[in-house]
């Protein structure tokens, strides 16, 4: 079934708050094998000008990919979840995510098209603090193969 182009521009209600914890950042940094002290040591992070430990550049996916799932739950989005693979990923960091951030994710459909039977859906997730400070824009292109 082809994706309806009228979906482009559709935005979903903001997510619940995701509170970024130091332990979660350290766990993620260890999982990707990155030894940087900026991910683990608040003193080292402060010495580098950050208020607290910062997160590795791809940590945003922990928050953004779950937020993007709101699109696949939309009954108007005729995509078979079981066929979905991750096609592309892009991050634009306005500033590093850091421990203590209380993030809200807002998801918007940036593109929807069907090419050779494959459904391509681009979900943009804007991560901002509760106070409205823009932190990261994470854009995921999901592919449902024919």
């Amino acid at each position: 079934m082809a994706l309806d182009r009228a979906l482009v521009g559709r935005s979903y209600p903001p997510s619940a708050v995701y509170e970024v914890g130091r332990a979660k950042i350290a766990e993620f940094a260890t999982a990707v094998g990155d030894p940087s002290p900026l991910y683990r040591d608040a003193e080292a992070a402060r010495a580098a000008g950050h208020p607290d430990v910062i997160a590795p550049p791809t940590f945003a996916i922990v928050v953004s990919l779950e937020a993007a799932m709101v699109v696949l739950d939309d009954p108007d989005v005729a995509i078979d979840y079981g066929r979905v693979v991750h096609g592309e990923q892009r991050f634009a960091h306005h500033r590093p995510i850091r421990a203590g951030d209380r993030l809200i994710a807002t998801t918007t459909i940036d593109a929807a098209r069907t090419v050779a039977g494959n459904d391509l859906l681009t979900a943009r997730v804007d991560l901002a603090t509760e106070d409205g400070e823009a932190v990261c824009t994470a854009t995921s292109m999901l592919v449902a193969r024919a």
């Binding site: 990707v32 990155d34 940087s36 991910y39 580098a48 791809t58 990919l65 592309e88 590093p96």
Partner: protein, 142 residues
């Protein structure tokens, strides 16, 4: 921590040090837990082959994270990475042995942008095949 690489040190064509990362099944299990992506194609051979894959494959986002390490390790400052994008071209198959798979990441400065920003194009391969395409990072250097 200040950036190891300064804007004055780079020009179009500057190459990043090549990085090689080993990926084992244990790494995939650890990444699944840390990221929350428990798709069984990243840890279960039976499920992976049932959906037509050659075997268990690495999370695309894990591969992207390793490519990112090559960039942040070069700049010395993870906060310098302001934009990062990849297309997941080919899966990285991770065999069930101690050697696992090897990922090779090379990077080249492709363009000098405004405001101290520098575009780095990445070549990311495994077992002789390119696994990421359109892999680019933009870093802001002092």
């Amino acid at each position: 921590m200040s950036a190891v690489v300064r804007l004055a040190d780079v020009e179009v064509g500057t190459e990043l040090p090549e990085q090689r990362y080993r990926i084992t099944r244990a790494d995939l299990v650890r990444y699944a837990g840390a990221s929350g992506d428990f798709n069984p194609i990243h840890w279960n051979e039976r499920v992976a082959t049932e959906v037509g894959l050659p075997g268990v494959i690495a999370h695309g986002m894990f591969t992207m994270a390793l490519a990112g390490r090559a960039v942040t390790g070069w700049t010395g400052d993870p906060a310098a990475l302001v934009e990062f994008q990849v297309r997941f071209g080919r899966p990285v198959v991770v065999p069930d042995d101690d050697a696992g798979a090897e990922l090779t990441v090379r990077g080249t400065v492709a363009a000098l942008l405004d405001e101290g920003r520098v575009r780095v194009d990445l070549a990311v391969g495994s077992a002789g095949e390119k696994v990421l395409s359109l892999a680019r990072a933009v870093v802001r250097l002092a």
